[in-house]
Amino acid sequence: MGAPIVVAGASMAGLRAAEQLRAAGWDGPITLVGDEPHMPYNRPPLSKEVLAGKAPFESLAFRPRASVSDVEWRLGAKVVAADLARRIVELHGGEVLPYAGLVVATGMRPGRLRCPGPVDGRHTVRTLADAQGLREALTRPGARVVVVGAGFIGCEVAATAVALGAAEVTVVDPLPLPMMGPLGELLARALLKRHKERGVRFALGTGVAGFEGDDRVTGVVLGDGRVLPADVVVESVGSVANTEWLEGNGLDLADGVLTDEHLRVGGRPAVVAVGDVARFPNARYDGVPRRVEHWSIPTDTAKHAAKVLAAHLAGADIAPAPFAPLPTFWSDQHDFRLQSFGAPVLGKDDVRVLDGDLDGDVLAGYHQGGRLVGVVALGGQAAAAAAARYRAELLKQPALTA
């Protein structure tokens, strides 16, 4: 038996890569290496249903396809180094795995605040263990919660904490509005209003200078000098790519791992990257390589990368169209949902209300050069359905650069 395809990372992207390698015809061995002790599981509910106690932790496990029943799972194991020229990876503990193909699927880890103060009482939300710990802390009676970072996870956790009956929930962010980056000003302002109406407090336009407390956090010191009393702190301040193990191979690891238009890494056809660690150009847009942390990306990247890798290893000469996924994201907060199709971030300077109004169900269109490049719905099912009606139009568009 020849060397396996090693999939470094055993979360959603790793699982989907293995399944898609089988679908693309690779019938050789596959080894998945993941540092968590769990089989792959679905992460979005960690800040919502699971944190709220509405869904059990066990409900998160993915059901792997039958086609991957024969793959080798190395769980609780970590890839610590790679030598791409020699086609080997090294695990923690020194074991060396030779590979025929390598899938980089090591994902991200939460960024942490580096300001002074105690560590106890400060949480992140990325793994099952994180969510279990945070749930325990949030359900203590009278918990005062400070969420640092008003992005997707921060806004979702704040909404969940309010629903769980936390005494106080305050979201802190240096930007003037929540989710300003993905949404732009118009919808971010509407989002702020909805959160406030549902009991979330905000300290915006200021960062965190430090934490008060001896053994554990009792307060959060803001950049403007105010102190927010806190029993629980959630740090949702972005994420860091797990690429240290790839260092020393001459790769561009500035933000995730840079790939070409087929998700190949470092000009090596036997190495591909999938999931949110991959910084890839999207041929649908401007061709600028970006990492994308949306839930749809592991599946989209795995499909394309697996085809390309399987064909290369089979010696086949295929020339698929460049990778050009239509981005999509959603976020459930309180009793409403944000639902997006396309690339609103490219059209934040020209945002128009396409349907509804900002106080109810609303659909916003994001334009570049007068052309629709993305939509975001905010509200209930009707708003999301309105967004979906624009999906076909967004899919049809040729690349902006074409």
Partner: protein, 62 residues
């Protein structure tokens, strides 16, 4: 092919409708409706639908 959707999990994201429009649709009331025994020729579409369901509520049996 037999398709089962856990309607307790389904939150009407509609990603399955994009992936396999011959199998999944929304009814007049905006609720998910689906064909539980689609033709085997639609297997790729249904597998895609199961993959892209945010709640992982779609199961393919046999």
């Amino acid at each position: 092919m037999k398709v089962v959707v856990d309607m307790n999990k389904c939150q009407d994201h509609g990603q399955c409708v994009f992936a396999a429009p011959d199998v999944f649709s929304f009814d007049e009331a905006g609720r998910l409706a689906y064909v539980s025994d689609p033709d085997d020729a639609l297997r790729d579409d249904v597998e895609e639908a199961a993959d892209v369901c945010p709640l992982q509520a779609i199961r393919i049996e046999d």
